[in-house]
Amino acid sequence: MKVLLVEDERILAESIAAHLGKEAFIVETVHFYNEAIDKISLYTYDCVIVDINLPDGLGFGIVDALKQMKATCGIIIISARDALEDRIKSLEIGSDDYLTKPFHLSELNARLKAVLRRRHFGGSNDINYQEIRINYNSRRVFVSDNEVALSRKEYDLLLFFMSNIDIALTKAAMAEHLWGDSVDSADSFDIVYSHIKNLRKKLTDKGCNDYIQSIYGIGYKFGAP
């Protein structure tokens, strides 16, 4: 999977590239509008992540260029501007998602995967990890072909975990993924904890290995122990 990252802040670009690189994405990073236009006219990508404010232009222009080329790639806009108009405009001109800075890298990762899943609908509808299988069209979860009945939030949590295999997830990132930023953090951390407890129980009850590991002080990690 090839991803083009257009972000002028070098440190942020580097962190994103490193994070996504772990997930077997091939990430190319450019810092300028013109570089990005050159790249997309020469190569095809599975997804383009664009910052709106670039030193030599607005990221919206890159989205327009991609749409004119009838490119099939997914587009995610990241911006420090949290204006509703920007959000609406981004989605209107054809980007798939909009993330406001600062965001959690794990959130970007999950959104990227969701965009890619939606784009490649010709392929499989399933996400697999060891004995766990998620069919995201029907929102059903199986452990070795036995269905596990999960609540909505538990399902979202599991999907978030499965999009971030072997990545340490902070409680804040998980809470924000589940509720956005409207719910107060102190309360939501406790709910994250109780959801995880239930999810773990439901999975292990069906004979699943316990892949959810807690990391002291930080949060959780999903993957082989």
Binding site: I11, R81, K101, H104, L105, S106, D184, I218
Partner: protein, 422 residues
């Protein structure tokens, strides 16, 4: 009081006083003149009388037809001379009326006998004249005064018109427009000065306001970027495995603090955006529906904190509001009711046609209720709360001419929002 009515009032009172003084002195002068004229003629008659006495040595009543024109009365012989003028009323025998006369009295010797002689002259003609002159004069003065007054009113209105134009333009001045007032050049120096000063001032205000607005937004964006970097680095850091426990704790502290900073920044930006009127889009919002949706979103938290939520609606309440702001308003109020509640507490939401109330149980308020809606006022200064939630609620209410009030009754803290729209 309006400027025109005030000047008119001064003008009228001043004119009336002047008018009275002029009329009074005019009357006095004319009267004085008439008297001196009459008295002169009386003196001439006295001379005629004395000449007649000297020539004939006696006085014949029959010389004069008019009754009581000259009357004589004997007085005891005295050496003193006497001469006086006075007003008197005499009875007119034809029309049975008392008629004013001027009387000149003096002593005279006829046939070595001392007499008091009184010569009288009717004032009736002179009085008529005086009356006529005065009325004519009063009438013409009044007409003149009235004309002057009307003219002055017209002139003032015309003169002050540019001022009223400027005033109405100043009233419609919007600081958001980003430009000062555009005012026409006037013929009158003072108004021209006023206009140019106003134009300069409003222009500066608009520009400063715009600069400040841009500064707040830019500052917020500039803060957001390094925060994003710190966060991304922290997230990369926690992926590493060889940290000690306490080091992980530090990293978590850094992570949470930056998140908090970022939220704070967001909240401040929101406040300044509301101030700047950047949420101008409006739609009609069914508040009951919105509140139910929000209550459902908070369901898990109610469950966890074991809160009993009651929702009661007597009437639909529909408001014209920006959707984002309505959302934030309700979310903040519910969050507030949860945050200051205790486990196993209650939350009551009631909606009627002109207000809605969110009540919650909780610890007694230690803050001054008046400062409750101020920025950074917190019940517990060390709490993780930003202290901006209710400030934002208040700001949103102000934007839409609503009122938010806090009250405490029984076991409930209530936040009541009253709308002006019935």
């Amino acid at each position: 009081m309006k400027l025109l009515s005030r000047t008119n009032l001064y003008y009228i009172s001043f004119s009336v006083i002047t008018y009275l003084i002029i009329s009074g002195s005019f009357y006095a002068v004319v009267e004085r003149m008439i008297y001196s004229e009459v008295e002169e003629r009386l003196i001439v008659e006295r001379k005629d009388f004395e000449q007649f006495i000297r020539a004939h040595g006696m006085w014949e009543e029959s010389c004069y037809f008019v009754e009581n024109k000259i009357s004589l009365r004997t007085v005891p012989d005295t050496l003193a001379t006497f001469s006086s003028f006075k007003d008197t009323l005499m009875f007119n025998r034809y029309n049975q009326q008392l008629v004013p006369f001027r009387e000149h009295s003096f002593y005279s010797k006829i046939d070595s006998k001392q007499y008091k002689v009184s010569i009288r002259k009717s004032l009736i003609e002179s009085n008529k004249l005086l009356k006529f002159i005065t009325i004519t004069m009063l009438l013409s003065l009044s007409v003149g005064l009235l004309l002057l007054f009307l003219f002055q009113r017209r002139i003032s209105k015309k003169l002050w018109q540019p001022f009223y134009d400027t005033l109405s333009k100043a009233k419609s001045f919007e600081v958001n427009d980003g430009k000062g007032l555009v005012l026409q050049k006037q013929d009158i120096f003072e108004f021209n000065e006023l206009n140019s000063e106003l134009a300069k001032m409003t222009d500066k205000i608009s520009r400063d306001y715009k600069n400040l607005k841009e500064f707040t937004e830019n500052a917020s964006h500039e803060i957001q970027t390094p925060l994003a970097m710190i966060n991304s680095r922290v997230e990369s850091l926690i992926q590493e495995k060889d940290f000690k426990r306490h080091q992980m704790g530090w990293i978590q502290d850094i992570h949470e603090s930056t998140l908090r900073l970022s939220k704070l920044n967001h909240a401040l930006l929101l406040l300044s955006k509301i101030d700047n009127g950047q949420f101008y889009e409006q739609e009609s919002i069914e508040l009951g529906k919105l509140i139910v949706t929000k209550l459902m979103a908070f369901d898990e938290i109610f469950h966890m904190k074991d809160l009993a939520v009651e929702y009661h609606k007597t009437n639909d309440l529909t408001l014209m509001m920006n959707h984002t702001l309505a959302d934030i308003l309700i979310t903040n109020l519910i969050n507030n009711a949860i945050k200051h509640n205790f486990n196993g507490g209650k939350i009551h939401v009631t909606i009627s046609d002109s207000q809605f109330t969110i009540k919650n149980t909780g610890e007694p308020l230690r803050l001054d209720p008046k400062s409750l809606f101020e920025r950074f006022k917190k019940q517990n200064q060390s709490s993780s709360s930003l202290g901006l939630g209710l400030a934002i609620v208040k700001k949103i209410c102000e934007l839409y001419n609503m009122r938010v009030d806090y009250s405490f009754a029984g076991e409930f803290h209530s936040m009541t929002i009253r709308t002006t729209i019935a």
